[in-house]
């Protein structure tokens, strides 16, 4: 019998179907696929980053690189309109974020909390923008 720790949560996965504005895109998943308004997604690079063991030179596995995070604002049967909601170290309300924007601050994504991620190479130019067909994966509420 499966217990809570071994249970796999089925995340909603899809792809970018269209780019509407500089803040909105469409994904090919809707309420038929379990998407609800407010659900958050990561838009991922086309190719995951391969981590090579420096000692053995063997592949340790792949890490997905995140381009941007979006939140479902309009959910229809088979598609959802998602909107970017925040990017880098800007916290608090609008005023605080503006103050943060004006002052010197470290532009590190909030979610990258461990140093190891800081050493990953930045996304290549061809991967630095969202494209139709990019993968999207649901974010868990605590992510």
């Amino acid at each position: 019998m499966a217990n809570a720790s071994t249970e796999q949560i089925k995340l909603v996965e899809g792809v970018v179907a269209a780019i509407l504005t500089e803040r909105e895109l469409v994904i090919n998943r809707g309420y038929n696929d379990g998407v609800v308004a407010g659900m958050k997604f990561r838009v991922l690079s086309e190719q995951p980053f391969e981590v090579i063991d420096p000692q053995t030179q063997r592949s340790l596995g792949f890490i997905d690189r995140e381009k941007v995070r979006v939140e479902a604002s309009v959910v229809k049967e088979r598609l959802s309109i998602c909107r970017t909601y925040r990017r880098v170290g800007v916290k608090g309300n609008a005023v605080m974020s503006l103050v943060d924007l004006l002052g010197p601050y470290s532009e590190i994504p909030e979610t990258l909390k461990t140093d190891q991620f800081l050493h990953l190479p930045s996304l290549s130019e061809s991967e630095s923008y969202v494209r139709i067909g990019d993968r999207v994966v649901q974010l868990l509420p605590n992510e």
Binding site: E22, R23, R87, A94, V95, L98, L101, G103, E125, Y129
Partner: protein, 230 residues
């Protein structure tokens, strides 16, 4: 009908099954006694034979009819309510739409007020810190990089020069969209190149469209040298 008027309420009538059952048994008994009383008179040979042949059929036909007759007042009231509900749907629809419109209007006002307040506060903050803002007059994606053009201000105001750093914000919610460096000063505008943390969706949008000249929701803020480390 005004949105504040109470909605008409037509409840389905409840069937009084116990009363129907008591009435049914009472009438069945009365009917039975009547038949028994009249039986000697109708029970000649032919009548008796006919009754034996068709008695069960008669009971099977008349009992449901009797039950239906007893439930008739309830059925009539159900039909009446159904009719009222059907005829009141257009009114209900109108009223519901009016209420939705009213809610939307109130929400719209609140959102507009919030937007206005946010803009006022943002303008105040920018004024207090002495930041210079620039209108973005165009965007272009070229060779994997995002370029923006910034409209030059007439008269007084900070004049940008090559190497100056700006940050772009979305005016709706102050979301940071990227850091740019001025690479070219032209007669009517400045050209700035996205150098770090350019929003991937924005870049993707411009790349898809090639060039965008209408940029109503974003502005660039000049960051004095030494403060920008993005």
């Amino acid at each position: 009908m005004r949105p504040s008027d109470p909605l008409p309420e037509y409840k389905w009538p409840k069937p009084h099954w116990k009363a129907y059952l008591v009435a049914f048994i009472t009438f069945a008994l009365l009917g039975g006694f009547t038949i028994l009383g009249a039986l000697p008179a109708i029970l000649d040979d032919a009548g008796s034979q006919w009754l034996r042949k068709n008695g069960v059929t008669l009971v099977l036909i008349y009992l449901p009819l009797a039950a239906l007759a007893l439930a008739l007042p309830w059925l009539v009231s159900v039909l009446r309510i159904a009719y009222k509900r059907i005829t009141s749907y257009p009114n209900l629809y109108t009223q519901t739409q009016a209420r939705i419109a009213e809610f939307d209007r109130q929400a719209g006002i609140t959102e507009a007020q919030m937007q206005a307040a946010r803009k006022e506060i943002s303008a105040l903050v920018l004024q207090v810190v002495g930041a210079s803002t620039f209108e973005i007059s165009g965007q272009r994606f070229d060779a994997g990089k995002l370029y923006i053009s910034l409209r030059k201000r007439r008269g007084r105001g900070y004049k940008l020069s090559v190497g100056d750093i700006l940050r772009v914000r979305h005016t709706e919610d102050d979301m940071f969209m990227g850091t740019f460096e001025v690479t070219q000063v032209r007669n009517t505008d400045y050209i700035a190149l996205g150098i770090s943390n350019v929003d991937a969706l924005w870049a993707g949008r411009v790349r898809e469209r090639g060039e965008i000249t209408l940029v109503p929701n974003m502005e660039a803020i000049y960051i004095p040298k030494g403060e920008a480390n993005g």
